[in-house]
Amino acid sequence: MAQLILNHVSKDFGTGKPAVTGVSLNIREGGFLALLGPSGCGKTTVLRMIAGFEQPSDGEIFLGEWRLADVNAMVPPEKRNMAMVFQSYALWPHMSVAENVGYPLKVRGVGRAARDRKIREALEAVRLEAYADRRPADLSGGQRQRVALARCLVTDPDVVLLDEPLANLDRHLRQEMEETFREFHARSGASMIYVTHDQAEAMALATDVAVMAEGRLLQLASPQEIYARPEGRLVGGLIGQGAILHLAWPVGADRALEWPALQACFGPKPGAHLADVLVRPQDVVISDEGLDVVVETAVFEGERHALRLRLPDGQTLRAFSRRPVTVGERIRVVIRSAWRL
């Protein structure tokens, strides 16, 4: 096993706009990288280039010293020792669960006894031993997902790719599957690359998060880092459900500011330089002093009320409240901290 290196990889399908432009990534051995971005941002294309389904139109991909792909040539997917969980799971409907899981071993010419043992282990790992002889059609969505995972486990792959694996599951199952993925990662020791458009999923699972938009890599950092210090408007909009405000940021000030230093940013200052500032709802606190705002909407979410607040200059803030508020009510809020993007 070795680290996976993407060196300035681009992909142009000839549609006028390149799908991926100059993406460079290092995924350390045994790392868990989440590729996060809105749909159509090129993250799935990056994944398919790593798998070998697409050839880069520029740049190179290495696994350690092994040159997997460049503009002129590439190793076909069947020789890469990678595994993938597809959004549609891609289970072969004419094979039983055990046959699906064991197929990669069968292709590699592993003997019957060794194969059966590995299939059993893999199915135990995803708690599906009892379903070995069923057909994929007889399983629920979550069970199919686990069969697809078991199929990745059997061959000890160097790299495991996951293409929005939870997109087709309901919310309850997602949490359970996230747990399974974490176990799976700890157990296999493979490098994992996980494509998703759900930032909570990415944060919960990955050791590193790469944010992409419009074919470019915007930021690559640990989940904590990317949450605390997002770079630029696009990343800020994707990470955390914060509001992005245009504020007159003091020249020379830190990127993170707290109350009361923040209060100065809200006054009207004609001609001042306006910066994009991220304000997260949990940092907006209802108080007796602070900014005057009007409640635009209030939605009861069970554990709290989610509010949308309008500032005097028309910009909107998001906030949480424990007590019910009525729409149209005038309240005051304090912003505990904000981050300049």
């Binding site: 076909p76 020789k79 891609a90 072969w92 197929y103 292709v107």
Partner: protein, 564 residues
């Protein structure tokens, strides 16, 4: 580690060249050869003799009139069945539809024979019930009207299918919305349904016309005895009386047929373009309109039509096959299975024909399977434009009338093969080649649509599992397209087994097929033997259609031609 392989494509190097060579051999080469001979013949003035031949103009006139009036019959029959069975609450729609589709799959020479057995002074059936016209009165079907009627019956299913596809694609909520806005059933019919289904109607009519122009079996059996020639039978006659100008003449004649067909196909293409089939697929549809008091009468009408165009001719065929000799009255006492014993056990000609047809059809069906599984895969994985070119090249030999392809094969193989110096003319190999070319599209369509329906990730998962192309084909893709491949084999076998047009020009002693045998038996006056053979053929057709019907639920939409 320099372990480089070929580029991003997942296909082995030989695959695409193999597809190109297959298409070239089976489609471009024969038709190109025909075009070259035709054009050369025109340049050398070969057309002059033909153009001054009144037989040509009579045949052209006969072809156009019979095709046109046949088309009207098809539109009437197919239209009534499609509208009643699709939009109204008729009981037994499944069986009615299935029976109505039968004439399409029954070979035209058998249709013609059965109708001859039904009408005329020597009809065994009419005699048995004492209703035969007096001896010496003419057989009414040996006429332009008879030709048109039978062509109409034969190709009515084409109109039915085309119109039905249009009717099924009707936005149902659109109809319901119109009714909620207060439109009566009649107004909905006039304002919503008719405008939306007109393309289907026109396309079906165009298809029926093309099919009529290229038909050989019906004018051969009904027309030739009365010296009524159409373009197809004129080619046959010219070929039979072989002369110096024959090759030039028949290539020009088949060029003429090809032009008429292309004109018809262009009309079809034109009216169908923009029609979106993707809205089909609403399952569990029930009838849109209730017939109420008219239901019983409509059902009786439909069944009566089926009795007239299907049951009675077939009963006449069976009666003729059981009669001891042509014209002898058939009673329970005189009925004999002599004709069946003769065709199955004794006649060398028919036994050879059985062996030839079944052998050729099996070889065609399985030979094409090898080509079309690979071709279907390439079609599904290629960019849209390339896929369209491949499909079109495969379609052309099937879309053109069989007689055109037969002439092309004659021209192509009249001389010995280059390099090896062996001539396949007059052997079974030329028939096999013509069948492969002609039915390539029949085999390709179901398989390509099965490949298109497969989620590409199923193959990608197999690639990541380490399976190379051959392995994926065998373990993953093959089993997944198997139902469609099975349907393709049955369809090709069914159509090839009943083939007459191509074989009629290409057969020689010892290589006759079932279609040719039926025609020759009738031609030589052994009407009871021809009928017995026809009954066996119809039985085979029905068995295979039922087989496909049973498979239908496991097949992609549109694979079974009589289900839409």
């Amino acid at each position: 580690m320099p372990r480089h392989a070929f580029g991003g494509s997942s296909q082995p190097r030989w695959l695409f060249p193999f597809i190109l060579v297959s298409l070239f051999l089976l489609s471009v080469l024969p038709l190109g050869r025909l075009a070259v001979t035709g054009i050369l013949s025109l340049i050398r003035g070969g057309g002059d003799g033909l153009l001054s031949d009144p037989a040509l103009w009579t045949a052209l006139w006969n072809t156009l009139t019979t095709s046109f009036f046949g088309m009207l019959v098809s539109v009437l029959l197919g239209g009534v069945f499609a509208i009643l069975l699709t939009l109204f609450d008729i009981r037994g729609r499944g069986i009615l539809g299935f029976l109505f589709m039968l004439p399409m799959m029954i070979p035209p020479q058998v249709t013609a024979l059965s109708w001859i057995g039904l009408t005329g002074p020597s009809s065994t059936l009419l005699k048995a019930v004492g209703m035969a016209p007096p001896l010496g009165s003419p057989q009414p079907l040996y006429s332009l009207g008879g030709l048109a009627l039978l062509l109409g019956v034969q190709n009515a299913p084409l109109v039915y299918l085309s119109l039905r596809a249009g009717l099924l694609a009707l936005p149902r909520d659109g109809i319901e919305a119109a009714r909620l806005s207060g439109a009566s059933a009649l107004q909905v019919m006039r304002d919503i349904i008719l405008p939306l289904t007109l393309p289907g109607f026109a396309a079906g009519a165009a298809m029926a016309f093309v099919s009529n122009v290229g038909n050989f079996g019906i004018p051969a059996i009904l027309g030739i005895p009365a010296s009524i020639y159409t373009l197809t039978t004129l080619i046959y006659a010219k070929f039979a009386s072989f002369g110096a100008n024959t090759f030039g003449d028949i290539s020009l004649l088949s060029g003429l047929i090809a032009l008429l067909s292309i004109a018809g196909l262009l009309v079809e293409e034109r009216v169908l373009s923009g029609r979106d089939y993707r809205i089909i697929g609403l399952s569990g549809r029930t009838a849109v309109f209730q017939l109420k008091a008219w239901r019983g009468a409509s059902e009786i009408l439909l069944w009566l039509v089926l009795v007239a165009i299907l049951v009675m001719p077939f009963a006449a065929l069976v009666a003729s096959s059981l009669a001891p000799a042509y014209g002898v009255p058939l009673t329970l006492k005189t009925a004999t299975t002599f004709a069946y014993q003769e065709v199955i056990l004794r006649q060398a000609v028919t036994r050879t024909a059985f062996a030839n047809s079944i052998g050729l059809s099996l070889a065609t069906a399985f030979g094409l399977l090898l080509i079309t599984v690979l071709m279907g895969y390439v079609v599904a994985r290629s960019r849209r434009r390339l896929a369209a070119v491949i499909s079109a090249l495969a379609d052309i030999p099937y879309a053109l009338p069989g007689i055109v392809l037969a002439v092309a094969c004659i021209l192509l193989f009249a001389a010995p093969l280059p390099l090896i110096g062996v001539s396949i003319y007059g052997t079974l190999w030329i028939l096999l080649f013509a069948y492969l070319s002609s039915f390539l599209a029949v085999s390709l369509r179901p398989i390509a649509s099965a490949f298109r329906q497969l989620d590409p990730s199923l193959e990608e998962a197999a690639r990541l599992a380490g399976a190379g192309f051959g392995r994926r084909m065998r373990d993953i893709l093959g089993p997944l397209v198997a139902p469609a491949a099975g349907a393709a084999v049955i369809l090709v076998f069914l159509i090839a087994c009943n083939e007459l047009t191509v074989s009629a020009l290409l057969w020689s002693a010892g290589t006759q097929t079932l279609g040719v045998a039926i025609y020759n038996l009738d031609d030589s006056g052994s009407f009871n033997l021809a009928s017995a053979l026809s009954v066996l053929v119809v039985a085979m057709v029905v068995v295979m259609m039922v087989l496909l019907e049973l498979m239908a639920n496991r097949l992609p939409k549109g694979v079974v031609p009589w289900r839409s």
